[in-house]
């Protein structure tokens, strides 16, 4: 059913696109096209979430693949009425934590490098301005628990309640962590002269007048 809806939506016959939760329900019922669609929707988000901490794209892609494998293995744990996005991110974060536990020795030896080198950034990494690099660097220097919340909220597209669910905390605690992260980011970026042109990279301002 979902595969038919997706085909019709792609062809422009219908506007409604099934939600993530509907796709998951369809996959549990045996619709493989629904899983493929979930893969298409979540791969970029998960790739970015993994790549921000890892040094190679292959490792990031491997963890993304494992996330979907775990999603498949845990599919019967998915309860109706639950949001899919925080659940997928919970699986992904668990895998990432285990990855770093497993590779603890290697991470410890590269901690010093982290101060100067950057994890994999993708093809646009080279085009980034100094100010943008400075922000990325400031983000990486945040304590893990503050950074995790900010990244999930900003780049993963999770609301604060969803972030709280994904990291196994309360909404209030997550907001406090985000607040502390923002304060630390401001402090670290305080001396960096902003370069609005390079920051926006041609995108319109969020508040038009500013």
């Amino acid at each position: 059913m979902v595969s038919v809806c997706l085909a019709l939506a792609k062809a422009g016959y219908i506007a409604a696109v099934p939600s993530d939760e509907e796709l998951m329900a369809a996959y549990i019922a045996g619709d493989k096209a629904a899983f493929r669609e979930l893969f298409r929707r979540y791969t970029p988000l998960l790739q970015r979430a993994m790549a921000r901490d890892l040094r190679s794209l292959e490792e990031a892609n491997d963890l993304v693949q494992q996330t979907f494998l775990h999603l498949h293995r845990s599919r019967l744990d998915f309860e109706p009425g639950r949001k899919l996005k925080p659940w997928i991110f919970t699986i992904a974060l668990n895998l990432k934590r285990e990855y770093f536990r497993r590779n603890k020795r290697r991470r410890e030896t590269s901690l010093e490098d982290d101060r100067v080198a950057e994890p994999f950034e993708g093809p646009r990494g080279q085009e980034r301005s100094d100010a943008s690099r400075e922000t990325a660097r400031a983000l990486r220097l945040l304590p893990a628990e503050h950074r995790e919340v900010i990244e999930l909220h900003w780049f993963g597209g999770l609301s604060f309640p969803e972030v709280a669910e994904a990291v196994g905390s309360t909404v209030a605690a997550v907001k406090v962590r985000a607040h502390r992260g923002y304060v630390a980011l401001r402090a670290q970026l305080g001396d960096a002269a902003p370069d609005p042109e390079s920051l926006h990279e041609g995108k319109p301002s969020v508040l038009g007048s500013k």
Binding site: R36, F39, T43, P44, Q47, R48, A51, L57, A60, V64, Q65, L69, H70, H72, R73, S74, L76, T90, I91, L93, N94, R97, E98, R101, R102, F120, E121, G122, P123, R124, A131, S132, T135, A136, L139, I150, H153, W154, F155, G157, S159, F160, A166, V167, G168, A178, H179, Y182, L185, R186, L189, P194, L199, E201, K203, P204, V206, L207, G208, K210
Partner: protein, 262 residues
């Protein structure tokens, strides 16, 4: 207008009209914080949202190949809902406890203080359930290693302490012999639980938490079974034949983990 809309607008660079933004900011300190100083921090964070990273053409194909391999008894068991996996993992322990309690009681069972039996059953079983539940859960694993090392320490130390507090006078006066038999009995009866924990684990390679929690659950299970089965309370016997099972299971899981990495 809500927080995700504002955040998405920032990330995607979409313009927002001022009035709804102001109305939201009046009631939302989190977003207000981002809009301070001309929304500079929000813009800088938005600039970090990069385009999709490249991935191999056969990325989904490789995943499909993995999914095709997800067949057989282990694939079926590990894909059961977590509550069912939890219940099924504890079931053999319960069966063995009942069978052991009825048919293979310790010789001095009649003199064995019932309060101690009840207390042991409760404390051990809660700890076992906690270890198994944590291991099989899909909840966020924010817990530090020390959280489940605590359970492991409990599994290793409580039987050691029990060794110095024999339950009956007869058990206190016993000789240390027969430790190997107890070790084998405990290991054999907990083997089905170990097999189930391995089968239920959704990780292909056991994680460190799986190693600690499984060893804790198995060590405690073995000691609980032996406490009901063996009336020998000699400290040396209990240390070598009973308490050592927790360490043995820890070593077995650690070896499994190491082998799977190789």
């Amino acid at each position: 207008m809500d927080c995700p809309q504002i955040r998405d607008a920032f990330v995607h660079g979409e313009p927002l009209s001022e009035e709804p933004v102001k109305a939201h900011l009046a009631s939302c300190p989190q977003c207000r914080e981002l809009f301070e100083q001309d929304a500079e921090l929000g813009r800088k964070l938005a600039a970090q949202a990069s385009e999709a990273l490249p991935c191999a053409d056969d990325f989904f194909g490789r995943l499909e190949q993995d999914l095709v391999r997800e067949t057989g008894p282990r694939a079926w068991l590990r894909s059961r809902p977590s509550r069912l996996r939890f219940a099924l993992a504890l079931l053999p322990l319960l069966l063995v406890l009942i069978a052991g309690g009825l048919f293979r009681q310790r010789a001095d069972f009649a003199q064995y203080p019932m309060l101690r039996v009840a207390l042991l059953l409760c404390v051990y079983f809660v700890a076992i359930a906690l270890a198994v539940g944590k291991e099989l859960s899909e909840s966020p694993r924010r817990d530090a290693l020390r959280d489940y090392l605590g359970l492991l320490a409990f599994a290793l130390l409580v039987p050691v302490l029990a060794a110095f507090a024999p339950a009956t006078e007869a058990s206190r006066l016993a000789y240390p012999g027969g430790a190997l038999g107890c070790f084998g009995y405990g290991a054999l009866l907990t083997l089905p639980i170990a097999a189930l924990l391995w089968a239920f684990d959704r990780d292909d390679r056991p994680s460190l938490r799986t190693v600690c929690l499984s060893a804790a659950a198995l060590g405690l299970s073995a000691n609980l079974l032996l406490e009901l089965h063996c009336g020998n309370g000699n400290a040396v016997h209990v240390l070598l034949g009973h308490a050592s099972l927790g360490a043995a299971w820890l070593a077995a899981w650690a070896v499994t983990r190491r082998l799977s990495r190789a």
